[in-house]
Symmetry: C2
């Protein structure tokens, strides 16, 4: 039987590269996306386009009321994501326990599917700011996954795969080009215009633009101003 | 400031005792319940009654589409919970990664609330069958919680409190009586009648009835047959 992988797919460039990396490794693909009250819900349209571009066994979108929990500029209509550029602390766009919540649901689905591999696009750029993108987090979740589940205690099969973990944005872009990712389908902006153009000034846009510049490649998506 | 606690509250007797235990310790109470596609959704009415019986700061019910993930007799309308009595393996009512998912959401809310203590009613009876009720699971989640969050990496404050962990059902009932729990408000049955009577034959009913018998106390709820 082909091995199955659950791949967290936001619609951003990192998760797009992750999905292609899992495909290249020969996994049967089960991408998982969330409608969690994010202000940048247009990323789900990007996820849909990315799913259409690959042979995917089943795409699941789960509704998660993280806006009810609050605590983040990404899910609070009253807050605007920072436009000052990445700083040294944890950004206002941090969503409390988000990757723990996303991986938990991916784990539940993986156990049902008899999938052992969970892909997540965390990377070096993110983990400078977000606690739940660091290698120590990924490692602790792997330990938990194999204690928390029927399959886990029987066979300890679960592996959290973070193939971008030690890559810069430019390296991720180069890897994506090599894997055939169509970056024009991806969306990263936290604060897009009503017509879906990226703002060019939120942290996500700044990191993306800097990554393409460092990679020496033109970002194929459209920006409202740049 | 009064210390705050997020308490997972299903509406069953274990979580009811947990809620009272957190109250006795002087915590400001933030019970958290889930509408997760469970066939025994009447337990949420029990949760509501339990919340009304104590001074609760805020009760949150989150909608979680665990039935979309599948893999359990508790969320699959096509399956019936086992009526054969508890066996030695993991029961069909096991929901993949459920406590990991519930605790992850509790963690996100706790971080937003500046609460450090998360209460969960797992106990010795459950962890004979469910992997995510064992002390090793609780311990691994605590480690994860303090790596996965802004507060966690700054101050390592999160504690997963499982005050029933080493108690039998009879001991839990005695503790509940001492704490003033009104057990007539609680619901445990996995397969209640349309009128809300407990079936007396599912695993949850059998464990509950045996617990009351061992405690020498009459269970105050009504059963369809017994």
């Amino acid at each position: 039987m082909t091995r199955r992988a659950v791949v967290l797919l936001s619609g951003g460039m990192d998760s797009a590269v992750c999905l292609h990396a899992a495909h290249r490794e020969g996994f049967e693909l089960y991408p998982l996306s969330f409608r969690y009250g994010q202000r940048h819900h247009q990323e789900l349209q990007a996820a849909e386009a990315l799913v259409a571009a690959l042979p995917v066994a089943r795409w699941m979108i789960l509704d998660l009321p993280l806006d009810a929990i609050g605590g983040s500029a990404l899910t609070d209509p009253g807050q605007t994501p920072c436009k000052e550029g990445p700083g040294s602390g944890i950004p206002a766009t941090y969503v409390p326990a988000r990757n723990t919540i996303f991986l938990s649901l991916a784990l539940g689905w993986a156990e049902t599917l008899n999938a052992s591999d969970l892909f997540i696009g965390v990377n070096a750029v993110d983990y400078s700011g977000y606690p739940d993108c660091r290698p120590a987090f990924v490692s602790a979740f792997t330990t938990l996954a194999n204690l928390a589940t029927r399959e886990g205690i029987a066979n300890r099969p679960f592996v959290i795969r973070a193939p971008l973990q030690h890559l810069s944005k430019a390296e991720i872009i180069h890897l994506g080009m090599e894997l055939g990712v169509d970056f024009s389908l991806t969306r990263s902006c936290y604060d897009p215009t009503p017509h879906g153009l990226a703002c060019a000034t939120c942290d996500a846009c700044r990191l993306r633009l800097a990554g393409f510049q460092a990679a020496g490649i033109t970002d194929p998506i459209r920006y409202a101003r740049s």
